[in-house]
Structures are given as C-alpha cells and as structure tokens.
C-alpha cells in the first residue's frame, strides 16, 4: 500500500478503512462484507441526502422563474425548509384504505425507493469510485428501473381507487413505451465505448464526450428519461388536475414520503446518468492527475443538467396521453432506431481511435460522427416538415365546411 | 461450490410447481403464469449446466436467451388472445370457455 494520496482521496480513504478493519482482527471475508455494506449505506445516504437540497433548490428556482421568492423562512435563505417538511410528513398518520390490498399496498412504496437507489450502485463518481463496476452496468440500470414501473402499477392497483388505477394504466402506457427509445439511445454510448460498464463508458469519453459524437442520442435519451421520471411535460401519471394526484392518491405519511423521495431521487439520478453517459461523467481538466476532482466535475455536470430539467418543468405545459404516445411511437422510436443503425454504421466505418490517439487523429472521427448526426437531424426535420404540412393541409381541408368555428 | 445437483433439484421443484399450476388453475392468465415458472425452471437448468459444463462454450446461455425471447413473444400473443376472448365473453376461466365439446 502506498500511503495516503490526497489526489485520489476516495480510493485512499477506502484503503485506510480496509486496513483499519483488518487490524481490528476481522477476516478478509468479513471485511469485504462490511465494506460492501458500508458502500451501500454511503450511496444510499448520498442519494437521500441530496434530495434534501434539491427540493429546496428546485423550489427556489421555480420561484425565481415564476417571479416569486420561493421558500425563505427556515434557516438562512430558507435552506432548511425541507427539514420541517420531512418531519411533518413522517409524523402524519399512515392510512390504509379499507378495501386496499394491504400487502401490496405496503410493498409498493419500498419498491419505488429501492428501484432508484439501486441505480446509484453503478454510477461512477470518480474514476473507479462507484458501488460496483459491473461489466453490464448500462443493462443493470435499465433492468432495475423496471421495478419502478412495477411499484407504481402495484400502488395504483392496490389502493382500490379508480383515479389511482387510471394513473397506473397511464404509467404502463407511458413508461413502457418510453423505455424503448431510452434503451435504444442508451445503446449508442455503449456502442461507441465498446462496453456496458459505466466506468468504461466514462473512460472511453477521453476521446470526446459522447454529446459531441452523438448529440441526437443524447436528446432522445434526455427526452425519454424525462418521461421515465414522469416530470413535466410528461407528468400525466399524476396530473393533479385530471386524476387528482395519480397512483399515490391514497397514500399518506411515511409511505407517501417514500414515493415522494423515490421520485425526487429518480429526477436527479437520471441527470447523473445523462452526465455519465454523454457528458463525460467525472472527466474534466487534470482529472487524470488528481482523480478526486472527478467527483466535483461529476456533481457539477449532474446539477447543470438537473437545472435544465427544472427549467423545462416550469415552462412546458403537460401533454395529452394520445399525443404523448404518438410522439413516442411515431417519432422517437423510429428516430432512435434509424439513429442506432446510422451510428453503428458510421462508427464501424470510421473505426474506433486508439486510446492514446492524438488530436489530429481524433478530428476526422469527431467530424464524421458529428456530420452524420447533423445530416440525420436535417433529414428528420425535413421529414417532419413535410409530414406536418401535409397533416395541416388535411386539417384545413376538413375544417373548411364550418367557417363559423374560430380558434383551435 | 454448490453442487450442480442442487440447482437441478431446485429447477425440478420449480418445474413441478409450474406443472401443478398448469393442471390445477382455472384462470387462463394464471395458467400462463405457471407456464412462465416452467420456463424459468428450464433456464435455471440451462444456466447451471452451462456453468458446470464448459463455460467457454456459450450454448447454454444462448439457449437461455432464446427461451427469454420466445417467452416474451408467447406472453404477448397469449395476453392478446386473452383480451380478445374477454371482449367477446367476459371470462377467461378455462372451464367456462366450452362452446365446443366432444
């Protein structure tokens, strides 16, 4: 062991900790068990802890965007606002509806939280600093996310409430549909990196962030992950004005808090994944010399993307369910399929640059991939324009017999 | 290491549970679920045999993947049929679907 190295802060802490445990007289098997447990606790604590701040941050941001102040009473600048909110939620009575399916009703919230926290197991904070560097990390993320769908479905059904059930149906329609473009766009970074390991994907972005090489995939991933989280403009699983609050209408107290928590964690988890997959994760200047910097880069990127999420949330109106599904099946899915084929062909034809390729070698690679993306975007926009104007003409033709009607 | 036979026994148990479900359940969806159990039993077998046989040759894993694919396709078609039949007669209890006998 080569002593404490401040530049690689987190791995060093891990080493010191492990040595300390070994000195305490634990056997190697127990040490690895304790380490894994500690890692799980740390990651969970990070995820849950971050929520406390993102809630305040989001409320303040939304306030500013809507020309309000946002929370400003508890603590300096209202930073501690979440604390009393959480206390209030947790001390509320837990109510179970009379005809609810009690077992499933209580399992659902736990599943909801678990599914998002499990994702953090494979997100790299810095080079090698992550729960587990699974060689199938990207697939693991998709697999684990499916528990979230299940949780919402069960919550909606077991509440024995028709609004909750309607919401559950919407959930299935929306989440399962948007999973298709999500996975298809996720495949592009996997393809470019040649690995499904999250850390491997970040390492592969030494040759250029994938947002430059595959901007269309990034957009598709961003849109469909917003839908997966169920945030505006895709928030119709809980559209409060239509189906009161959706699948969790019957929940209260602790259990409601868990759904709430799960949703908030999910929101910035997705941003962390976007950062990892497309924005170089922990990559940044001098990160090879000082690996600990990676954590800072990663968090900055994650919250920058999160800011865009909030921005969209405050400015976009909610979609209608049929528009939402049409948009997915008639636009996103075909586009992501074409994108995947085109990207794999382009990547295959240009050939992957070596890991230590100089800028001169990298430029043609970037140029080709970016060029392909630009062409694809242009074609898409052109097709959209043609189809759109045809639909508009048809609508106008249909509208003509009734000149009295004005407005949309 | 855990002996191979343990996995095979677990798989046999799962298969027989599924078999019981297929034979004993009334509801078509429940029968489909029991069939899924049987398929899972098969997959446990395949993966275990792959692991304890020659892990370099991927036959077992490929087979298991094909089983996944087929199971998904089968479930999709089956559930489509259930929905169609439910539309026409409001039940998927197998005993009540008896227009044809002989």
């Amino acid at each position: 062991m080569n002593g404490f190295d401040i530049s690689n802060l987190f791995l060093s802490i891990g080493q010191v900790w492990t040595e300390w445990l070994l000195q305490l007289g634990l056997s190697a098997g127990w040490v690895s068990f304790v380490n894994k447990l500690a890692g799980a606790v740390l990651v969970t604590a990070f995820a849950v802890g971050t929520v406390v701040f993102t809630i305040v941050g989001e409320r303040k941001l939304i306030g500013r965007i809507q020309d309000r102040l946002g929370p400003n009473r508890v603590g300096p600048f209202g930073l501690l606002q979440t604390v009393p909110d959480v206390l209030k939620l947790l001390t509320k009575e837990i109510i179970t509806p009379a005809n609810a399916d009690k077992v499933l009703y209580s399992i659902a919230p736990m599943l909801a939280v678990a599914s998002v926290i499990l994702i953090w197991g494979v997100v790299p904070f810095a080079n090698g600093v992550m729960g587990v560097d699974l060689d199938i990390g990207a697939l693991y993320f998709v697999a684990v996310s499916s528990f979230g769908t299940l949780a919402i479905l069960l919550a909606g059904w077991s509440s024995n409430n028709k609004y909750a059930l309607v919401s559950a149906f919407r959930v299935v329609a929306q989440l399962i549909s948007y999973e298709v473009p999500l996975v298809l766009s996720l495949l592009v970074p996997v393809l470019l990196a040649g690995t499904m390991s999250m850390n491997g994907i970040v390492q592969a972005q030494a040759q250029g962030w994938f947002v430059i090489l595959a901007p269309i995939s990034m957009l598709i991933f961003f849109i469909s992950s917003t839908a997966e989280v169920g945030r505006s403009p895709f928030d119709l699983l809980e559209a409060d004005s239509e189906i009161v609050a959706g699948y969790n209408i019957e929940y209260s107290g602790m259990r409601f808090a868990m759904f709430f928590l799960g949703e908030w964690i999910h929101a910035f988890t997705i941003c962390g994944l976007t950062a990892t997959l497309f924005f170089g994760g922990w990559r940044g200047p001098f990160v090879d010399q000082v690996p600990a910097l990676g954590v800072i880069y990663f968090l900055v990127k994650m919250f920058a993307i999160y800011f865009v999420h909030i921005w969209i949330r405050t400015t976009m109106p909610r979609l209608r369910i049929d528009h939402l599904l049409d948009f997915n099946w008639k636009f996103l899915v075909p586009l992501s399929l074409v994108n995947l084929i085109v990207m794999s062909l382009a990547a295959r034809l240009t050939g992957m640059p070596r890991a230590d390729a100089a800028l001169g070698e990298l430029l043609p690679y970037w140029g080709v991939l970016l060029g392909v993306n630009v062409v694809l975007a242009a074609v898409t926009l052109y097709v959209l324009g043609v189809v759109g104007s045809r639909i508009r003409r048809r609508q106008e033709a249909a509208r003509e017999p009734e000149p009295a009607v004005t407005g949309p | 290491m855990i002996p191979l036979s343990w996995y095979v026994l677990v798989s046999a148990a799962l298969f027989c549970i599924g078999l019981f479900g297929v034979l004993a359940r009334r509801n078509a969806v429940a029968i489909l679920m029991a069939v899924e159990l049987m398929l899972n039993a098969v997959n446990v077998n395949l993966v275990a045999f792959w692991r304890y046989g020659e892990p370099q040759a991927m036959a077992g894993q490929v087979f298991a993947l094909i089983v996944f694919t087929v199971a998904a396709a089968e479930a999709a078609v089956g559930l489509a049929l259930f929905i169609a039949i439910y539309r026409s007669r409001d039940t998927v209890a197998v005993e009540e679907i008896d227009l044809m006998k002989g």
Binding site: - | I31, V35, A41, V42, L46, V77, L81, I85, L99, M100
Partner: protein, 486 residues
C-alpha cells in the same frame, strides 16, 4: 464437412430467404396498397412460394452443413420444404374466397402463413436443440394467431386460447427435456449428442436420457397430435378458419414429423434408450383412439381432426420401422415421407370440399352433406376419392404410403402393429362411410347447386389429380424420399 463462407452459406438457405422476403413483401404491400388492391396479395404470396420451390429445387440432392452444425440441407430437409411449400400454396388458394367478408386483416393472414411455412422448412433442417426449439415455437406462435384470426368468431377465439394453453405447456415440458439432454451430454448439437451418448458405455446417462426423451415426446407428440397429447386437436380444428385447419392437419403435422425423425435418427440412433417401444405404444394409442373417437363426430371438421390423429398413428409405425430399408424404394422412413406427401394432397383435397360446402351452406355439420351428389356430383365424387385415399384403398395416394409402412413392419416382424393398423383402417371406413351415405343416398335439404369458385376449383383439381395419379406423378418425390432416409 468443409466450412462455408457467408455467401456459400446463404445459397443453401435461399428457400428460407425467399419465403421470408415474400412474407415481408406481403406485409409491406398490404400497408402500401390499402383496401383496393388487397385482392392481389394472395398472388404475391403464391409468387413467393413459386420462387421458393425454384430455390428448393436447386438444392435437390445436396448435402450441406451450415452455421457450424446448427442447420443442414439434405434430401430429407428438401423433401419437407417441398411439403411445406406445396401445402402453403394450396392453403392460400383455399383461403382466397374463404375470408371474403369474414376477417379484416387478410394481408397479415397470408404473411403469417408464409412465416409458418418458413418455420416448417426450418424445422426440417434443424440439427441443434436451440434451432429445433426456436423453429417449433415460431410455428406454434404463428399458429395460435392464425387459429384465432377471426376475432369476432367466438369459436375461433376459443380454439386459439385452447391451442395456446396446451401448446405453451407442452413446449415448456419439451424444453425441460431439452435442458436435461443438454445437461447430460454437454452439447445442444444433435450429432455431438449422439457421439456422447454412443460413448456412454456404462449406461450412467440412460435414466436422464429416458426422462428427457419422454418429456420431448410431449412436445413432439403435441405437434403431430399423437394420443395422449391430442386433446387440443378437435377443438382447434373446429374453431380455426378452415383453410388454416387444413394447414394444421398437413403442414404443421409434417413439420412435427420432420423434427421427430431428425431428433430420433440423429441424436439417438444407437438405442441408448429404447425409444422404439415408446413410439410403438404411442402409435397404437394414436391410431385406435383417433379412429374410435372419429365415429362419434357430427361435425366434419372434428371428424377430420380425429381422422388426422389416427393418420399420425399410422405414420408413427414407419418411424418404428426406421431400421428397415427395402432396395431403392422403400423402408420405414421413406414410407413416412411418402405417406406425408400423399396425405398432404388427400387431406387438403378433403378440406377443399369442406370449404366449398361451408361457403354454400354455412355449416360444417355432417348432416348438411345430405344430397351432395345431387347438388354437385363432381364434389361428391371428389370427396369419395379423398376418403378412399384416407382409408388407403389402391390406387389412391395414401395407399402407397401405407403399403410401404405396413410392409416394413411385417418385414421387421412387427406383426402386431401391422394388424392393429389394418384393423384401424377397417374401423375408419365406418365413419367415412357415414359421410358418403349422407352425400350419395340421402335427399338434399335444399336443391340449389353448389358451385366452386375458380381458386377453390383449381385447388380441388390439383389435389384430385395428385391423389388419383400419385404413382404416376410422384416419381421424383419417391426418388427423393428414398434418398432422404437420413
């Protein structure tokens, strides 16, 4: 065998490629053409099948091992490809008018039918358990859909549901057997499996292999509708759209036999378990139960279902006599192949008559065949010929198959099987006679003549000529069958 390059590998696969392209083309054209030109889709499908036959003919007599032993092309595979394509073509002819005003998505019907045909051609050449399973399931899944194709018809729905539930359970059982076989031999390839089993001198594997073979027989037996895995057949035959019933009774069954032959003769030829006894028992049960149950049927489709079960029983005798070869023409396996081909024309012919009558009377009850003679003598005569052939009276088609199979059984000393087979033939006369009595001797309920539309007439003509002139026209096939004895 020498390894093939990519292009060389695609050559032997060309029948499958053409079929797949045709299926996709029909699907695409259905979308592109819309309502108006939908009538052309069957012609496109038939054209695709013609292309497939041409491609198949180019493989005549070749033996190739493809994809590292997953798939082979040999005379036996070619024989089953021919059967699949002929059956599909005839079934398409039969469906053109059948669906008029009954089902909306006819384009999808033809497309899926072509996929089913593709599945059978794949079953015929599969030499790897993975491929065997996959092609069986491809056929099954498409079959569930096609059985339930008339969505508004409750019988069709119900038939599809039953088919699905039985089929899913049977295939899962079969799959479990496959997993055990893989476990004990360490390979999914049939040839390698045979090598491992052959080397197993002490018989330490025999228990597992026996269990696996029994489980596999559930799946194979289901596909060929052998007793006791036949329960689905009557309901499905009755409820499915009649052209597809015809397809199930010949093509799907032939596919089942293709797999059955390939599996037993490739993987277990040295009798590491005594599967011959199992097959013989299956055969006796299948013949007897099929024929006895057929007697009580009032619906012609159900009757033909049981008759088709019984026919599977006869064919299984041929597998029992697999060791027997008789000069250039003959032996148990050649008997099976020729029987299947003869049965194809005969049974499809019978179903063509059923469709013509169904279109005229709207019924499948045997009682509604009363006076068929007066309403259309040609039809009654054709039905008579088909039934003669199904019983196995010379000089009709099935007679050839029966002759080969029974003579093999006698040569090998399976007298019991041969006698049971002949007795069963006699029993079957009884129920065929029941229909003939209605058609020839009873007065018609209505006097309006029954006419066959052109495509149906073509189908009827082809099947009739082939049934009567099988010995003349089938010479090339007989030769192929004698090569094909694996």
């Amino acid at each position: 065998m020498a390894e093939l390059t990519v292009l060389q590998a695609l050559g032997p696969l060309s029948p499958q490629l053409v079929l797949l392209l045709a299926a996709l083309l029909v699907l695409g054209l259905d979308l592109a053409w819309g309502e108006k030109r939908r009538g052309w889709l069957p012609s496109v499908a038939l054209l695709g099948l013609a292309g497939t036959i041409v491609a198949t003919m180019s493989l005549w007599g070749r033996r190739e091992v493809l994809f590292g032993g997953v798939f082979v092309v040999d005379p036996s595979a070619v024989f089953f490809q021919v059967i699949a394509v002929l059956a599909t073509a005839l079934v398409i002819l039969m469906s053109i008018d059948y669906f008029e005003g009954r089902a909306t998505y006819t384009g999808e019907f033809y497309s899926l039918l072509l996929v089913a045909s593709l599945a059978i051609t794949l079953m015929a050449g599969s030499t790897d358990l993975i491929m065997v399973y996959l092609s069986i399931e491809l056929l099954s899944i498409v079959s569930y859909v096609l059985t339930g194709f008339m969505r508004e018809d409750r019988r069709s729905n119900e038939a599809a549901l039953k088919y699905f539930l039985y089929g899913a359970a049977a295939s899962a059982t079969m799959l479990y057997g496959m997993s055990l076989l893989y476990g004990i031999t360490g390979s999914t390839n049939l040839e390698e499996m045979a090598a491992v089993l052959g080397a197993d001198a002490g018989g330490s594997m025999s228990w597992v292999v026996l269990a696996a073979v029994m489980l596999l027989l559930v799946g194979f037996g289901f596909k060929v509708s052998a007793v006791p895995f036949h329960q689905w057949a009557p309901d499905v035959y009755e409820g499915a759209p009649t052209p597809f019933t015809a397809f199930l009774s010949v093509a799907s069954k032939a596919g089942g036999f293709a797999v059955l032959l390939r599996f037993f003769l490739t993987a277990l030829p040295d009798l590491s378990v005594n599967w011959v006894g199992l097959i013989a028992a299956l055969s006796v049960m299948t013949m007897t139960v099929g024929n006895l149950m057929a007697i009580f049927q009032k619906n012609i489709k159900r009757m033909l279902a049981y008759s088709s079960i019984a026919q599977a029983g006869y064919i299984l005798i041929g597998l029992v006599c697999w060791r027997h070869t008789l000069g250039a023409y003959g032996g148990g396996i050649s008997g099976v192949l020729l029987y299947l081909l003869a049965y194809l024309f005969t049974n499809l012919g019978a179903f063509t008559v059923v469709i013509i009558v169904e279109r005229a009377t709207g019924s499948n009850e045997i009682a509604d065949y009363a006076g068929l003679m007066r309403r259309n003598p040609w039809l009654a005569a054709a039905l008579f010929v088909f039934f003669l052939s199904l019983v196995g009276i010379p000089p009709t088609a099935v007679f050839v198959g029966k002759l080969l199979i029974f003579s093999s059984a006698i040569r090998l000393g399976y007298y019991g099987l041969a006698i049971i087979g002949v007795v069963n033939g006699v029993i079957s006369m009884y129920y065929y006679y029941g229909v003939m009595r209605q058609a020839f001797f009873l007065p018609p309920k209505e006097d309006t003549p029954i006419v066959a539309s052109p495509p149906l007439a073509v189908a009827l003509g082809v099947t009739l000529v082939m049934t009567l002139g099988f010995l003349v026209f089938a010479q090339p096939f007989i030769q192929l069958a004698s090569w094909s004895t694996l």
